[in-house]
């Protein structure tokens, strides 16, 4: 671009008609950008500002769970979209520790979220990704996890076990889930 481009076209001169028209054009471009940008940003970020509703979900009658057993229970995530198919499902590990006292663990490893497996013979949870291992009460036995498995809040209503859902990312969870 030639150095004297602005002088050539009169853009550098104060109060010239040409300079005014250039400023108006740039300004209108900005207005158009806002007209497109504001709805777009609202569309993308809006759902996030409105915190997705977490709620109690039913895990089945208390009698489904034997004392001392650890069992995988699946349920439909209430926040999933109608076309989510199989991914609308979520799982938790349920363990009855004493009569009518339950630990409901999120399946996500507290390291980076992979699904932990319960090995009934070993009485351990093992994670297939980065090697996290937990005891049956959810405390860390080995590997990189920084804390014990996340526990859902639980309650028993009319003889049925219920758990309160927890959202991703679990690394932000301390406000939802007590340090187990």
């Amino acid at each position: 671009m030639p150095k004297d481009f602005f002088r050539l076209h009169g853009l550098g001169e104060p109060r010239s008609r040409r300079r005014f028209l250039a400023q108006v054009s740039f300004g209108l471009g900005g207005v158009m950008g806002l007209m497109l940008g504001v709805p777009l940003i609202g569309y993308l970020f809006g759902p996030l500002i409105k915190r997705s509703p977490q709620q109690w979900i039913d895990l089945g009658p208390v009698s489904d769970f034997a004392l001392g057993q650890t069992k995988l229970v699946s349920f439909t995530d209430p926040s999933s979209v109608p076309w989510a198919g199989q991914t609308s499902q979520t799982s938790v590990w349920v363990r009855q520790t004493a009569p009518n006292a339950f630990d409901v663990f999120a399946v996500n490893c507290t390291h980076l979220g992979c699904p932990v497996n319960w090995l009934d013979g070993a009485r351990l949870f093992e994670c297939p990704c980065h090697g996290g291992i937990y005891y049956s009460d959810g405390t860390v036995a080995a590997g990189p996890p920084p804390r014990s498995l996340f526990k859902h809040e639980t309650r028993i209503v009319d003889g049925r076990l219920q758990a309160f859902t927890i959202p991703l990312p679990t690394s932000q969870l301390s406000e939802y889930v007590g340090n187990a």
Binding site: P47, V81, Q89, A141
Partner: protein, 475 residues
């Protein structure tokens, strides 16, 4: 510039061509660009950039073809990919080309970056070419990651969960970032469409834009001349000297240099086609299903090194590595052409650059191999289906035979190998009986270790006796 020289007879074709050029100005506009002079001696090291572009074009074309069948919804994505792979005419070939094309693009852009770095081509006045190239590298990695998710198998599903957890570690806005990436508070239907739109619209558009600027700068500032030892870059005189090089014996880029790009690109296409035809499209894992926790998520090969990093870093450094290292690396890369925009370009005069590149390649190779083997992951399946070597099984009789069963059932085998069978998270126990005394074995089982669960309170006296009896036979 006239497309119809007067001396030649005017055939119908020539007249048509002349009319077309007169109305379109295509040659007039493009010829000076494709024939911009390049220094004599531009060689085979200069082909990787155009090969990256060729791979990208192949990705766009095969990607459009795949998108004609692919359904970006959880209920259809996996099935439509199965259909493409097994039923659609040439579908397996196209998916294979898209897969190996992605690998080619990652390899070529890496080779290009390393060539530019080692030859000091990023120095004055080509700083902005380095920066646009750095963005293109990040965009290529983002394409690779978003593409892997679209398979919507277990690897893809848990890969996104892991990525969201990392994003969630960002201070203050972590939750916002993670939920923006997965489009909600769970990985589900909205996640897949978000990644699909990003992979097929947003990122390719950005890549097109950056490639345009990248090439624009190549045309304006020229291809860097092959470096010679003892000929440093001095911003005060470089442009004058480069101009003189071109004046003296510059060649038109097309065809004097471009033929090498064409030869290399066609070889690359041939390799991609052969791999796609013989090896075929990558196997789809099990369909994404959050209720099947028996997963074994692994990233595609180009991210295995990072998978290894996440597994091997000490927990205290983890947040630093996940959050700060990418930012620091980004700042370093941006600073490269500004910190060293002058001086020697030839690798023989820049030992630090060579050491950096060799060290990086060695590190990436070692981490990739580690990531492939993943010795830190327990072999969860081994509880069910491990085959204990017969010579070990034969020596275990009586209590020891019971102990061998416990070794498997109680999960020891998921972390400890016996004669090559089992996990590698913990030490190989094939000869533990000759290494440790009976008491040492008992202490270790009951108390565990820094990276081993304690089984005290979780194992009966009888089981412990049987297990130790078995381990004493391991000599």
């Amino acid at each position: 510039m006239s497309a119809t020289p007067e001396a030649r007879p005017k055939t119908l074709w020539r007249r048509l061509g002349g009319w077309f050029e007169d109305r379109s100005h295509i040659y007039e506009g493009l010829l000076p660009i494709v024939q911009h002079p390049v220094p004599k001696g531009v060689n085979w090291w200069y082909v990787f950039g155009s090969a990256t572009l060729a791979a990208f074009i192949l990705q766009v074309i095969t990607g459009v073809a795949l998108a004609m069948i692919y359904v970006p919804a959880p209920s259809g994505a996996y099935q439509s990919l199965q259909f493409i792979t097994s039923s659609a005419p040439l579908g397996s070939l196209l998916r294979g080309m898209h897969f190996f094309g992605a690998s080619a693009m990652v390899i070529m852009i890496t080779a290009h970056v390393l060539r530019v770095f080692l030859m000091g081509s990023y120095k004055f006045p080509r700083e902005f070419n380095w920066l646009t190239g750095a963005f293109l590298l990040v965009l290529t990695a983002a394409m690779a990651f978003t593409g892997q998710l679209l398979r919507w198998d277990q690897d893809a599903y848990w890969g996104v969960v892991v990525m969201a957890e990392q994003a969630g570690k960002t201070p203050v806005i972590g939750q916002l970032v993670a939920q923006l990436v997965v489009a909600g508070s769970t990985v589900g239907g909205a996640t897949l469409t978000r990644f699909f739109a990003t992979h097929v619209f947003l990122l390719p558009a950005l890549i097109f834009g950056f490639v345009l600027v990248h090439l624009w700068l190549v045309v304006f500032d020229g291809i860097s001349e092959p470096p010679r030892p003892g000929v440093p870059v001095d911003p005060a005189t470089y442009k004058q000297r480069y101009h003189e090089i071109l004046e003296k014996d510059g060649e038109p880029f097309f065809p004097d240099a471009a033929w090498r790009d064409a030869v290399f690109a066609v070889l690359m296409f041939a390799v991609i086609m052969v791999l796609a035809a013989i090896v075929g499209a990558p196997q789809l894992g099990k369909p994404a299903d959050p209720t099947i926790v028996n997963a074994d998520p692994r990233p595609d090969w180009y991210f295995l090194w990072y998978f290894a990093v996440l597994s091997l870093i000490p927990p205290v450094l983890e947040n630093f590595v996940i959050l700060s290292v990418p930012v620091l690396l980004g700042v370093l890369v941006i600073m490269v052409p500004f910190v060293s925009n002058r001086g020697e370009r030839h690798p023989s005069r820049r030992p630090v650059a060579v050491v950096l590149v060799v060290g990086m390649l060695l590190g990436l190779t070692v981490l990739t191999i580690e990531g492939y083997q993943a010795p830190w992951s327990p072999e969860i399946q081994a509880v069910q289906d491990v085959a204990i070597p017969p010579q070990i099984e034969q020596r275990a009789t009586g209590d020891a035979a019971q102990g061998l069963q416990l070794f498997r059932i109680r999960g020891c085998i998921t972390c400890h190998a016996l004669g090559g069978a089992g996990g590698r998270k913990g030490p190989d126990l094939t000869t533990v009986g000759s290494r440790l005394t009976r008491d040492q074995i008992i202490v270790r089982i009951l108390n565990g270790g820094p990276n081993m669960p304690a089984f005290g309170g979780n194992i009966s006296d009888q089981e412990l006796q049987q297990l130790v009896a078995f381990m004493e036979t391991l000599r």
